[in-house]
Symmetry: C2
Subunit: 393 residues, 2 copies
């Protein structure tokens, strides 16, 4: 039990954590500072500034919650929802269900708007639901980590606002991998995580509230049920001239997030988004060449997380175990109703590169060939290589 910490080498191509950027890991060796040390407050401010840039927002209330993506989700919901509020939740995957569960724990009456896993929520569905319940909040998942669906947002945001509802987007898998653009899109509430497309270890959840959302929070009739996640208290620590102790931030995680955001900004956001798209196209080209079909509807696929249907007769667990044992590659299994039926291949942050695409395709091809899903050796890699050439051409 007391042995020195040792971990095996892993190429992390699952749904997160992704491979952490080495600069980010190094930043975490930086010594602690007091939670109100002027030098630390400056680092907090830097982090907020960088976060606003990557989120595409001028929102004052933008900072990382001291917890993982689910803590961000709960912070978002618990601050705006009061008992009895109507909330519309788009559910086309595992995390839509989670939003619904948490909203109910906050006392909301949830109206689910369902779509098949792998499909998007349609604007007319949101419009119908809004007509029925006049919601305080409409919530959807921007990039569903369980299905790999990238939800189009513009139309449903407009519908939500026409009905005077706040609009919430779960950006756990999108931030740093695809444009989020809170202000341009008029997203009122967004949260994300650090361990996916920001290539940072997990532990913080960047969150942002528009002024409209802040107004709703400040005009609550009931107390926010969580103290730890109370944005009115967190604001007094994160923002403004007089910083007031609320909890002791994890300096190490803030150092890490700041460095991760610097890496994003240095690469350039649009370059980074295109890199994720190019690699996803090559991955899908290779996968389709060996008979693996994407589980997310065409035209609405998350470039950072590709779901592939597991062919009949192929045992999910066996293949994933062999990928780890023989190749040191982790890919994700399916969550919820996709368990055993889909693989989730993440190309997130630093991990979105040609080397990883070719490695994982070659490994899967080899394993499928071994169990009789015979294809000509090199089929997947050739198809991916061709896709890269098209991208560059």
């Amino acid at each position: 039990m007391h042995d020195e910490l040792k971990v095996p080498p892993r190429i992390l191509l699952g749904p997160g954590p992704s491979i952490a950027n080495p600069r980010v890991l190094k930043a975490m060796t930086t010594p602690m500072l007091g939670y109100l040390d002027a030098d630390f407050v400056e680092i907090m401010d830097d982090t907020v500034g960088l976060l606003r840039q990557v989120y595409g927002t001028k929102n004052s209330i933008t900072f990382p919650v001291s917890g993982t993506g689910t803590a961000g989700m709960e912070t978002a919901l618990t601050n705006v929802i009061e008992p009895g509020d109507n909330v519309i939740v788009g559910i086309n995957g595992y995390f839509g269900n989670r939003i619904s569960d948490i909203a109910e724990r906050c006392g909301a009456t949830v109206t689910p708007v369902n779509a098949e896993w792998g499909d998007i929520i349609k604007p007319e569905q949101i419009a119908d639901a809004c007509e029925k319940v006049s919601p305080k909040l409409v919530a959807v998942v921007h990039a569903e980590t369980s299905t790999g669906v990238l939800q189009p947002l513009e139309e449903i945001i407009e519908i939500a606002h026409q009905h005077d509802a706040l609009f919430l987007a779960d950006c756990v898998t999108s931030l740093g991998g695809q444009p989020v653009e809170l202000d341009e899109r008029s997203i009122d509430i967004a949260y994300s995580c650090t361990q996916k497309c920001l290539a940072c270890p997990p532990g913080l959840s960047p969150i942002s509230f528009s002024d409209r959302a802040v107004d709703v929070i400040k005009n609550r009739k009931t107390k926010i049920q969580s103290f730890y996640m109370d944005v009115t208290l967190l604001e007094e620590y994160w923002m403004g001239d007089t910083r007031k102790y609320h909890h002791t931030l994890s300096m190490s995680l803030v150092y890490a997030l700041r460095e991760a955001l610097r890496v994003v900004v240095e690469e350039g956001e649009s370059t980074r988004y295109q890199r994720h798209e190019r690699n996803a196209r090559a991955l899908i080209a290779g996968a389709e060449a060996i008979g693996l079909e994407p589980a997310a509807v065409e035209g609405h696929r998350v470039p950072m997380l590709t779901t592939l249907r597991i062919p009949d007769g192929v045992d999910d667990a066996t293949i994933r175990k062999r990928l780890i044992q023989d190749f040191g590659i982790e890919i994700g299994g399916g969550l919820g109703i996709f368990a055993g039926k889909a693989w989730r291949i993440g190309l997130m942050g630093d991990a979105a590169n040609e080397q990883n695409v070719l490695l994982v395709l070659n490994a899967i091809e080899q394993l499928l060939t071994e169990i009789g899903h015979s294809v000509e050796t090199g089929t997947a890699v050739s198809a991916a290589a061709a896709a890269y050439q098209n991208s560059n051409g």
Copy 2:
């Protein structure tokens, strides 16, 4: 804004974070693993085993919550409290107030048991309150970080149990610095943090629930209001044979905590507790020699955090600013009603050593002398040195 991360050197002798152990910082550079990777699950199990040892418990439900000490506090309360429950809270400092605030947000009817800041909660006070309200839970702070008072626990635990109430101890500042001994004392619920006496960066909150507490949780009539902190779900991820995804743990913070606990166990718990006591005695001897009086009642002082009354005519902020600017030393100001009236000097974890005691005493003596609180140079250091000699003799 985008400069390389640089932090000034700091000797952290405040209320936490304390100076992180270098082995712990190094552990955080370890690459990520999947949240259900068999190798990571083994690291989780190791961490749980080490935590049980340092907590002095066989409690099955013992693990770090993915948040800071306040998240642990809220997890403890939100899982056992249902709306309308009677909860007795000992309030003799800032964190007793926080327990009360959070318990109320969970729907509890709180009966406060107050004592002066700097004093302990008396068993007869708890007994009286128990007679009046038949509480579901009695909560006190073991080591009050705002006052430096170490609360005696045995008698009030017995009283709580006689009244069939659960007993909760806030061990945020005690774990790793003084014996907590959950099983020997029959403490039902305890939580702590990582950034004080464990000499680890902040970000996790080790928590433990006795079987009695778990029974109460499993027999709730209402749903736990937090999903993120729901122990029945967290148990399915942290414990047992079938691990079930709940949220993505911060691998880096778990690596860090595991390493920090290894350091504690290598030193030996009782050696570590004695080291904290010896250094606190020397600090107080030195402080008293230059006219600084402890703010916590004698016989009940937290060795890891000494509160000193600021003499009349001495400006708190000026002295603390100069300590940072001229000496690179951070000490804590007062919280709540102690703001401007007391200093908090933490000698926690790695920082509890002779070097730091002499440094901080000498620095404070110099600054007080400068503003006219004249004493013979070296008075504080000499008194501390004498105390060390007595300790060793």
